[in-house]
Symmetry: C2
Subunit: 269 residues, 2 copies
Amino acid sequence: MGGSLAGALRGQCDAVVGVARRAETIDTALERGLIDGGTTELRSVTQGFDVVIFAVPVRAIVRMLHEFGPAFQPGCLVMDLGSTKTHIVAAMETLPRGVQPIGGHPMCGKETAGIESADPSIYSGCAFVLTPLLRTSDEARTLSLELVQSIGGYPLVLAPDRHDRLVATVSHLPYLIACALVATGQDAAASDPAVWEIAASGFSDMTRLSASDVTMMSDILLTNRDEVLRAFNVFEGQFRNLAQLLTSSDETGLQAALSSVRDCRVELS
Amino acid sequence: MGGSLAGALRGQCDAVVGVARRAETIDTALERGLIDGGTTELRSVTQGFDVVIFAVPVRAIVRMLHEFGPAFQPGCLVMDLGSTKTHIVAAMETLPRGVQPIGGHPMCGKETAGIESADPSIYSGCAFVLTPLLRTSDEARTLSLELVQSIGGYPLVLAPDRHDRLVATVSHLPYLIACALVATGQDAAASDPAVWEIAASGFSDMTRLSASDVTMMSDILLTNRDEVLRAFNVFEGQFRNLAQLLTSSDETGLQAALSSVRDCRVELS
C-alpha cells in the first residue's frame, strides 16, 4: 500500500522519499520509479518532511508513533494507512503540540503485499477514509483532502470508532467468513476430496479474501476485536434466521427474506 | 442453462429442438440461433427424440418426470440440469423399462436466468456432474459422457447423495452466507448508511451470489435441506473456533488457523 501510494503521489509533490527497513525494498521502489529517493534510516521520518505517511501494520504504526513521535516538528502532517483507526488515533493524540495528525485508510488493496505488488492506480475511484483529530488544524485537514483527491480517491471523513465499526462489517467479518468457508471445505474434503473438483466460481469468489496476508490480517482483527465479534454476532443471527426458515420448510418466509437481500444487493451493484 | 446448452449442442447433433411454455422463449432462442426448431407443446418431449434434457427447477423436473415419464419410449436418454440430484434420480427410477435416465448438473452458471442470458460458452472447461442409475445402460452412459465432452465440459460421475452433500458445501452454503452477509450490512446500514460507501471489492465479491434468482435458489435449498443445514453446522463450528481465538486474543493460535486456511486456498487457485 505504501509503495502504491508513493507511486501515485510522485510528481504531484516536490519529492517522495521512501523509508523502509530493508535496502532491497528501497532499491525495488527506485527501479520501479515509485519514489524520488529513499533511506533505511527509520528515524529520518522526523526530519524536515511536510507530510509523513506510515504504511505498516496497525500495531507497528502505534509503536512508531510512540518511538518517533516526540521528535516530529510542529506543522508536519502525520498520516497513516492503517486498517483500523482507534488505536492509531489514540497514539496520535500523544504527538507534540503543533504536529498535525490525521488517520487515513484507503478502502482498496490487494491480497498480495510488498513492494513487488505496488500499483499506483489502485486509489483511483476508491473511498479513502480520513479520521482527523479535534486538534488537527483546518490547513492540515485541507491538505489531506487534496492529497486524497490528487491520487483519484474520494475522501470520506469519519470518527475512528465509527470507521472501525463499519469496516468490521464490510471487511473484517467477510475475511473471517471466507476463512471459515475454506475450513468447511477442508472438513468436507477430509472425507471426500471431490469437493474441490466441483467447487466453481462462486466458491472461489467467496473465499478469495482468505488468501490475504495472515500477519496483516491478525494485526487488523486483534486491533478491532470487539467490533469484529459484534459483527459476527449479527451475522450469526441473520444466518440462523435463514436456517430456521429452511428447517421449517417455510418457503414463503424464505423467499421473502432472500428477496429482500437480493433487492438490496442488486441496488448496490 | 437450457438455452446455453442448446446453443452449445447445436451443430453437434442432427437437430436441437427447444421446448418451452412461452412462445416468446422459442422465438428468442430461434433468433439467437440457439435451436433448430421449437415448440410450446410440452408433451412433445416424449415423441421421437434420442435425448431429452430437462432444464427447469428441481421440483418442476420431478413433476414433469411423473407427468410425462410413462409416455417415454425405450432407448430414449432422459437427462436433466437440476442443481440437486436425489429427488430427481428418485423420480427417474419410475420411468418405464428401457428408458435410459441419467442425472446431470453442470457446475457453472450465471446469476441471471432466462433465454436472454444464454451463453453457449459457459460449459467450456467446466465440471459437469453425471449421476447414472443402476439401470442406466453402458450405451447411455457413454452417450452422456460424449455429450458433456462435446460442449467442452469434463464429466464427473457421482452418486446423487454424494453430489448433493458436496454442492451443499461449495454452492448452497456459500449462497446462504452471501445472503446473511448482505442482511448484516442492512442491519448496520439501518444505524449508519455510510456502511455502503466503504464497502469495497471484497464485500462485493462475498455477496455476489445473493443476487441469484430467489425462486431457483429456494427450490434448490428446499430439495437439499438436510445437507445444507449440516454444512451450516460445520461452518458455524469453524467460524466459532476462529471467533474464540480472537476473543481470547490468542494470536499464535489465530495465525496458525488462518495460515492453514490460506495455504489451502492459495493451493486451490
